[in-house]
Symmetry: C2
Subunit: 570 residues, 2 copies
């Protein structure tokens, strides 16, 4: 199988920029939006005042670098390979060790859909833990830490904006568990990024096929597309055919950390029969995915047998796929969850590859009615205990959160999470602030996501317009990502993140000065902004008029304002 | 001119319902969504449990009543005419009194675009004030007050939900100035609605042509369309041709209160030359519009001469059209604003028709950079003083608010407004929580609108995806209204408005029970929800499967939850 190169637009009016590390030979990728000068007419003469370029956090990876030749069939450059090697605490295995992985590889029928290049997996040397948390606790600053420090600061230094984000600060945040750098040593293609309350709010996108739709090529295209629009991490939630092979294509071509919910694949392996799930099958699935390079696993280890009866009190039961699977397993076996019982074993696998654990909220409310109920908060307590265990094993942890929560109950979620989970980063799905708008749940949830991020959530999982209705297509992914970029950025402004306002101020200045192209280029979706403008101004394709059709030339307040300014200056 | 009837969809699965008044012979229009029963299989037998219909606040007026014959060329039934008559404090004028109105009527060239029926305007008898505030202060409960009390409660009584909203409570809220019922005696077609913190959050839509686009028929269609989707009030912001005639068509066919910004038309009358604006022209414009039936006027009387220099300190100057016009006028004449100077005269006009004043925020920030600055808050203080003056004249008042405000600065706006303006209802545009998403400002602002409504804003002015870029089309109006319905409803839930959760709970229950059609019908946009579902399920047009393509049949948590419930029951 060969995949045609995926056509990625370049960001208009922008160029790729790399900032060199000071501690390590690293190049941190960013995007720079070039601006037009401000034109002033002074005594009849045209004077140009330059506007500095604006540097933007760039999640698109090498796809938007004209100097990199992209070949989906070869995968992205493996930038972190040397950094991992240099630490000298890992080795390249002779072979994969997952039984399932071996079986898939041996199956000649799969050759036609297999990723063409096979990389041997890397693992920790005997007795070693290779997580960023481990290094941070030892006081070590890694290239990953310097990378994210530079990345978060954008052009703050050039602009003279004070920042608290240094490599040392990053190390301390990671060491304390308040931030994670999800970075499986087998996913060296990913550019390091940090998830933590003290940093820019991140957003996760979900892709993946279901039994009813979507093939490998489409999923890879979705992955690249979601990074282009601003997804910081990517969860492959495939539950359909060829999960193993689909994932390989995605990881090899994904410049951001990739997460999965391993129980989905484990369930596929037992043909969807929940009762047949076993620890051995699950364990092999973890190893299979660790070896492929998944950066974080959602594990619903907080769903306990005793929770099943609490679910019965609810309006909408258990709406987490993983949570409902584990609940059913507990009920059918009348036994405690194997994820909970084997959690220490899980951690001992994860710390050999630096896979972070995202503790799933199997009991998240599926309706505003069920928000903040007993099932939800009891599970949160369990997640707190599991956090301590993971940290004992030097495994990086984030905590998943709800769901459907009316506005007045959002803050309690954040406060309780910080308390119960000792400050581990919160990673929430929305929350949706009302249930009555299927078809628009990117909006019902963008409201909740913005608020909870302001309160301290580190990463928000996007919701597309198709939530509750069907699998999102490319356009839905774009709509979902942009809605969540808005929430994340609105929160960054409110948190007072150093330099967060630079882009807003630049765009507003461009708007006020009728530099339409700069306004478009600085926006989250330049293409759409321009398209909307031009729809009604086909006669003005150069977009340099001092008004738009919203108010027309005589009623443009900005134009009038400038007249006033001139009048006042006289 | 004849306008073809505008084709308004009927709400699917719904019927029009009228609730009779107890104090007055009034019929309060509502919408009822009929639900399918819940099916349970008990010992192999199918048992049906009925689900009660859900009553929904209905802004669509007679357009969705199959028993009313709509003729755009005749206008809507004049339901309030008798109520006004019965009060016996008004009379029907022999003729219109506005000079401009007379001139337009005399112009034969306009016959072709004129609304076919001419109603003589009504005005207060000598020495009378005919505002709802006046009656409320006298301790009188009007039919309008009973209407809104019934309307706000929906089916709370039938459901046994406790409510504080009684006709007496409405009267007290209106008397205190904390709520208004905008109801020009010359717009008897409008169904009474209340704007106040203690009631459901309302949303305003803006329509109107600009010099560059849109004709009468298109604007009437937009008006009807915005009511269909849930607009509670409608501002006609036309600044193009034939403002007078366009407005007549809109008012005669609009079932919700209509607002305008009279300075726009006044400026058209002087050919866009700000300097030529005079009190006389403005005054005649007010009378012209009072006689037509405009229910509330945005008046930027808080923009003072001294504010002009404050605007110079800003990143984006003055972005209010009315505000910038008045600032320019003050600067050019080196004189105090005639709106401010003549505010008592204005009030004495308004209380003869019961036109409410919406005190415009000419100094609202046009960028997050300018949020909560001196210009903005100084103007708010002036608005507080004007509120007292308006109340002295028994004129109902709402206060307009920003604009562009980052989340952490939103609450201060609400708190300051309540303090400065003595609890008069706040009516905000968004606010937009970031500047970086042109093309998606319905979302950047839905976040702020939801939050500020939760904090106490009574009405939010929608923003469409085209904000800052161009005039919205029908689809943008729909997107804007739905985004704001979401914000308003999310706020109602958070405020604990009696019965606000009924629709959420019903929809969530329908979702959990895979009653897809009920889920669609209960949603804010049934059409789109259904369309999204069917896009990927063309094979299942009846929408009765127990899963969707988002998760597929094996991974549907809701389905699994029900298996668990059954297992637990055994």
């Amino acid at each position: 199988m060969q995949i045609d190169n995926i056509n990625v637009s370049k960001y208009p009016g922008s160029k790729k920029k790399y900032v060199d590390g000071k501690l390590f030979p690293i190049r941190v990728a960013m995007r720079e939006v070039i601006q037009h000068p401000t034109i002033e007419i002074v005594k009849g003469k045209r004077v140009e005042h330059p506007n500095a370029p604006v540097t933007i956090y760039d999640t698109s990876g090498p796809y938007t670098d004209p100097d990199v030749i992209i070949d989906i069939n070869k995968g992205l450059p493996r930038i972190r390979e040397k950094w991992v090697e240099m630490r000298d605490d890992t080795y390249i295995q002779q072979d994969i060790t997952s039984e399932y992985g071996k079986a898939r590889r041996a199956d000649k029928n799969l050759d036609s859909i297999r990723f063409p290049i096979s990389h041997k997996p890397r693992t920790a040397k005997e007795g070693k833990r290779v997580t960023q948390l481990h290094y941070a606790r030892k006081g070590i600053i890694t290239p990953e830490m310097e990378y994210v420090a530079i990345r978060e600061n954008l052009d703050n230094e050039q602009r003279g904006i004070k920042t608290y984000i240094t490599p040392e600060f990053v190390r301390d945040e990671v060491a304390s568990g308040r931030a994670i750098i999800a970075s499986n040593i087998n996913h060296p293609e990913a550019e390091p990024m940090i998830i933590g309350k003290a940093f820019a709010v991140k957003l996760n996108t979900n892709i993946g096929n279901s039994a009813l739709s979507s093939g490998i090529e489409e999923e890879v295209a979705k992955a690249v597309w979601s990074c282009y629009w601003g997804g910081d991490t990517l969860m492959d939630l495939s539950t359909g055919d060829n999960i193993h092979e689909t994932r390989e294509w995605i990881i090899r071509n994904c410049p951001v950390p990739v997460g999965t919910v391993p129980i989905y694949q484990a369930l596929e392996k037992v043909n969807g029969k929940v009762k047949d799930l076993t620890w051995d099958i699950y364990r092999d699935t973890l190893i299979e995915q660790c070896e492929q390079g998944v950066d974080y696993f959602t594990i619903h280890a907080g769903v306990l047998k005793e929770h099943a009866k609490l679910v019965q009190e609810r309006l909408t039961g258990c709406v987490s796929r993983g949570g409902s699977i584990m609940t059913q397993w507990c009920v059918e076996h009348n036994q405690e969850s194997f994820l909970y019982e084997h959690f220490e074993d899980i951690c001992e696998i994860l710390n050999k590859y630096d896979v972070a654990v995202s503790l799933g909220d199997g009991m998240r409310p599926g309706s505003t009615h069920d928000a903040n109920d007993r099932a939800q908060f009891l599970e949160l307590e369990v997640l707190g205990r599991l956090t301590e265990i993971a940290w004992k094993h030097d495994v990086q942890v984030i905590i998943e959160g709800p769901g459907h929560i009316p506005m007045h109950k959002i803050k309690e979620n954040m406060d309780k999470e910080i308390e119960a989970c000792h400050g581990a980063p919160f990673y929430t799905l929305g929350p949706l602030t009302t249930d009555i708008a299927p078809g628009y749940d990117h909006i019902t949830s963008a409201i909740g996501a913005a608020m909870i991020s302001w309160y301290g959530t580190a990463m928000i999982c996007y919701v597309t317009p198709k939530e509750h209705l069907s699998l999102p297509n490319l356009n839905d992914v774009r709509d979902g990502v942009i809605a969540y970029k808005i929430s994340a950025h609105a929160a960054d402004l409110s948190k007072g993140l150093p330099g967060a306002n630079v882009r807003d101020d630049a765009l507003s200045k461009a708007r006020y000065e009728f530099r339409w192209k700069d306004q478009f280029n600085l926006s989250l979706d330049p293409e759409r902004a321009k398209q909307y403008y031009l729809e009604s101004r086909r006669d003005a394709p150069e977009a340099d008029d001092k008004f738009c059709t919203m108010c027309g030339p005589n009623f443009c307040a900005m134009r009038i304002s400038q007249n006033i300014a001139e009048a006042c200056d006289k």
